[in-house]
């Protein structure tokens, strides 16, 4: 996945998620430009967020597999008010709930906003890299990165 520098203000210090055993591989994967998803060892469904047992068959074993980065808009919002100063220079900015082709729904900032933003719009994942190196999952409209 392509990397893009976070264009807002400041670094990720106060915005970093709590990294624990369940989600550590996911965030490490983003550092390497990959989306990693848990895949159940028993029913083989892929899931997000990372959890200790399969939400469908409850099996506790899983492997991490790389997702394609392709998906579509499941839902979206566009912020016109900044709750935190890091995002103030970006207003208005959009956030999508993206349905990955592998199944899971994940959140990410839409780093190239478009008036065509609508549910079902195809998306490609990118990695938004903060100035301190932390990496967030983000999206662009499919094809916009070319």
């Amino acid at each position: 996945m392509p990397f893009r520098d976070f264009p807002g203000a400041g670094d990720s210090t106060r915005l970093r998620p709590l990294i624990v055993s369940d989600n550590a591989p996911f965030f490490k994967g983003l550092q390497e430009g990959r989306i990693l998803l848990q895949k159940c060892a028993a029913c083989h469904r892929q899931r997000s967020p990372p959890v200790p047992c399969c939400p469908w068959c409850f099996n506790g074993a899983h492997e991490w597999v790389q997702a394609s980065g392709e998906g579509s808009v499941h839902s979206w919002t566009r912020y016109h008010k900044a709750f935190l100063s890091e995002f103030a220079p970006l207003l208005p900015y959009a956030v999508v709930a993206a349905a990955l082709v592998e199944g899971p729904i994940v959140y990410g900032r839409l780093v190239i906003d478009t008036a065509l933003l609508t549910i079902g719009m195809p998306l490609s994942a990118v990695v938004e890299r903060w100035q301190d190196g932390f990496c967030s999952l983000a999206f662009t409209p499919k094809g916009a990165e070319q």
Binding site: S12, R14, L15, R16, P17, L18, V20, D22, S48, P49, P55, H74, S75, W76, T77, R78, Y79, H80, K81, F83, L84, F87, L90, P92, Y93, V95, A97, A99, P104, I105, V106, Y107, G108, R109, I119, W130, F134, S136, L137, A138
Partner: protein, 399 residues
């Protein structure tokens, strides 16, 4: 044990709201939470004729630092307790507090329980900002309590609500502007509520000019933060009968729902809480609160619900069987949920206009309505209902 045996203590005892008191909803300068709560408690004691020494149970909704924890409250307000409890400091637990009081009364853990919703928001910056006491909750293991994901810019309770609303409008092909009916109805109701924080009536044009905060939600779709204190005194029904006002009986109740497909600010199955999108059919009249109370949605005269954001009213109306799935927005048009409408909702103005009391404003309003004390807002009612998008519900009626 059969279901009937399990319910026996509850049915034998019954629980009722005996007294209510509130300081109102707004800004109270530097008045402490303890002082606000004390005034609400004094008003509630006066309302039912009990003495402070009669109170032997305390349930606190919002704890420190916006409110007071149960031990502080008991110490600062000179309450000697044999039963106390407290919920996580979030708005969703008003019904839970009432339910815990009813259960504690049924099992004899206390005789007179004061339920307190008392907190100040004005000393802090807005919910979702780093000056709000709950900011650290954004970094829970499972993510923020309303789907907040700060590093993705998904911030504040409104983010998840906005995603839910967008998906809901899309799923059912609902025009966004129809959300206006909720905000307008509740502001019109608040106009005749002297305690409401926002009383100036709004028009459809005002709504359309209201700025977006997080699309598709506008400022007028958002609840209005306030400081408040409300005390609700509950006793067993037999004891309430001997007090000053006629008891408002808890007819039936059901607890909070939670799970992978539940999301506090959306309908189940919308897929917003990062789970499957699923065809959702609300169980409506089959929700257990109805059979437990022996009533049906048609028997409910006025409905009061958690409305952090206006679409929650629509989702709750669908969840509890008043409107069909996806039809609540149409159903609510043309004044249907206004004070003068066929089905008055949030008659005190709700969180959108009376002020965000975390359900306590609605609870005292239910009592006023059933007692016939709602003044200019009085609607004709025998049965009133509390319900939420997160699934809990309480049916209230007369003895």
């Amino acid at each position: 044990m059969s279901g009937d045996d399990v319910l026996k203590p509850w049915r034998l005892a019954g629980a009722a709201i005996a007294g209510i008191g509130t300081v109102g909803f707004g800004k109270f300068g530097d008045e402490s939470v303890a002082s606000l709560a004390n005034r609400a408690l004094v008003a509630a004691l006066d309302d039912c004729g009990l003495q402070r020494a009669d109170i032997d149970g305390l349930l606190i909704h919002i704890g420190s630092p916006r409110g007071l924890d149960y031990d502080e409250m008991a110490r600062l307000l000179a309450l000697d307790l044999q039963f106390a409890g407290q919920t996580w400091s979030h708005g969703r637990f008003c019904g839970t507090i009432i339910q815990h009081a009813a259960l504690a009364l049924a099992y004899g853990l206390a005789d007179c329980i004061t339920c307190v919703g008392s907190f100040r928001n004005s000393p802090f910056s807005r919910h979702g900002t780093d000056g709000f006491p709950g900011f650290a909750e954004n970094f829970r293991e499972g993510g923020g309590p309303h789907a907040e994901t700060p590093h993705a810019g998904l911030l504040g309770p409104i983010g998840g609500a906005a995603l839910s609303t967008q998906r809901y409008l899309h799923r059912y092909g609902i025009e966004r502007k129809k959300l206006a009916a909720v905000a307008i109805a509740q502001r019109n109701a608040a106009a005749s509520n002297p305690l409401a924080a926002q009383k100036k009536p709004i028009t459809r044009e005002d709504y359309d000019r209201s700025p977006f905060i997080a699309e598709p939600l506008r400022l007028l779709d958002c609840s209005y933060p306030v400081d408040t204190a409300t005390a609700v005194i509950m006793t067993r029904l037999d004891r309430a009968r001997d007090l000053k006002k006629k008891p408002i009986k808890v007819l039936g109740m059901q607890g909070l729902c939670a799970g992978p497909n539940e999301f506090v600010f959306g309908q189940p199955g919308l897929g917003i809480n990062q789970r499957d999108s699923a065809d959702y059919e609300p169980s409506g009249g089959d929700e257990p609160v109805y059979s437990r109370a022996g009533v049906s949605p048609e028997d409910v005269d006025t409905f009061h619900c958690y409305d952090g954001f206006s679409p929650q009213v629509l989702w709750t109306l669908e969840r509890f069987g008043f409107a069909k799935p996806g039809e609540a927005a149409d159903w609510a048009q043309d004044g249907r949920i206004e004070l003068s409408g066929a089905f008055p909702v949030n008659t005190s103005g709700g969180h959108l206009s009376e002020g965000h009391s975390n359900g306590w404003g609605q609870t005292v309003e239910i009592v006023r309505q059933l007692r016939g004390e709602a003044g200019a807002r009085q609607v004709d009612c025998e049965i009133a209902m509390w319900g939420t998008t997160f699934g809990d519900a309480i049916l209230y009626g007369h003895d």
